[in-house]
Amino acid sequence: MRRRQRAGSVPGTLASALALSIALSSISGSGRAAPPASNVPDSVTRRSGLTLAPMPRAAQLYATNCQGCHGELGSSAAEMPTLAGRVGYFTRIPEGRRYLVQVPNVALNANSDADIAAVLNWLLATYSRAQLPPDFKPYTASEVGELRQARIDVAATRRRVIDALVAAGQVPSADALALPHIVLY
């Protein structure tokens, strides 16, 4: 008896299910239309209300070539040499200025000489402006192109450059550019 009653109300159930599905689809439809189409990469950032300004080209070069290890703010894990508040010291003597271009990941980078010059000038001004010499001249593409031909012994060259900086009185203390001692696991 009960069963028969239910069977009798099937068209009613169908109608209400249809109404519900129409209501649901209109809700989800309006939800999809609400956020603006640009600057909303996905559901995660849409919820955050974040709007993104395009990164300047030099910052983008830094992000894709350097930031992974050296960090967004120019410092990262102890294994990676800190740029922030330090890297500018190297430009105070010619050998140090050469060293920054001849470091293997700069010299062997796949980008053009002009891009490498741009990213070097950008990171020096962004992370270490206070350490630049008063007469600092930005790197040029031709200078980078010439300097990056050389292949150096990084550790030995770095030691030599830092000794020269200390001897010339260009760094506040002998260990201003020292790398932390890393204890391996």
């Binding site: 189409a37 993104l52 990164m55 992000a63 894990a77």
Partner: protein, 188 residues
């Protein structure tokens, strides 16, 4: 040849086995068997299996809207699938499938201070975004949702632009758990 079996069922089996013994050679069987073994092991190498991992093909003609093959098949809503737009260069287990999110580490693991940075096209607005692939470290491999995005990936003799290596440098542990994909910024 007269069958030696007495019952009808036995005779039937005997006829079948004698027939099989007379018609087929052992070498033929071995070669067939070897052929099937090779065919079965080669099947997963066919492009069909890779297409299934890259995500479903939309109905009709394949869309070729963007320069990136990944972006043409990408979606922006489900971060637990390999074709989520940010995973164009993600190589490893998705943190979103391991108790974390697309840019958060699962409990018990910590994000590495270093990351591999790539760029992916968002199919919704067609713009390129920089993505930091940051490994979550400190627990054994998660093992869920293995994705092998290859955009911008270089061979491992260029390790700074290779995503096969574990990027747990500087983390408290070098044990790899999963890969997250955080948004760094909008490219020009």
């Amino acid at each position: 040849m007269t069958p030696i079996s007495s019952t009808r069922f036995d005779r039937l089996i005997e006829a079948f086995t004698r027939g099989a013994a007379q018609r087929s050679s052992r070498r033929g069987f071995l070669s067939q068997c070897g052929l099937w073994l090779i065919a079965a092991s080669a099947l997963p190498l066919l492009p069909v299996a890779r297409r299934a991992q890259a995500g479903e093909q939309p109905a009709g003609k394949p869309v070729r809207k963007f320069a990136s093959a990944f972006a043409n098949l990408a979606q922006t809503s489900d971060s637990t699938r390999c074709n989520y737009w940010r995973y164009c260069a993600s190589d490893g287990y998705l943190c979103a499938c391991c108790g974390g999110g697309p840019n958060t580490c699962p409990p018990g693991t910590s994000p590495s201070p270093t990351s591999w940075i790539g760029s992916c096209i968002n199919p919704d607005d067609g713009k390129t975004y920089l993505i930091a692939y940051r490994d979550c470290c400190g627990q054994d491999s998660c093992g869920r949702c293995l994705c092998l995005g290859q955009e911008g990936d270089m061979p491992s003799y260029r390790p700074q632009v290779n995503n096969d290596i574990v990027w747990c440098f500087g983390a408290s542990s070098m044990v790899y758990h999963c890969s997250s994909a955080g948004l760094v910024g909008l490219a020009e």
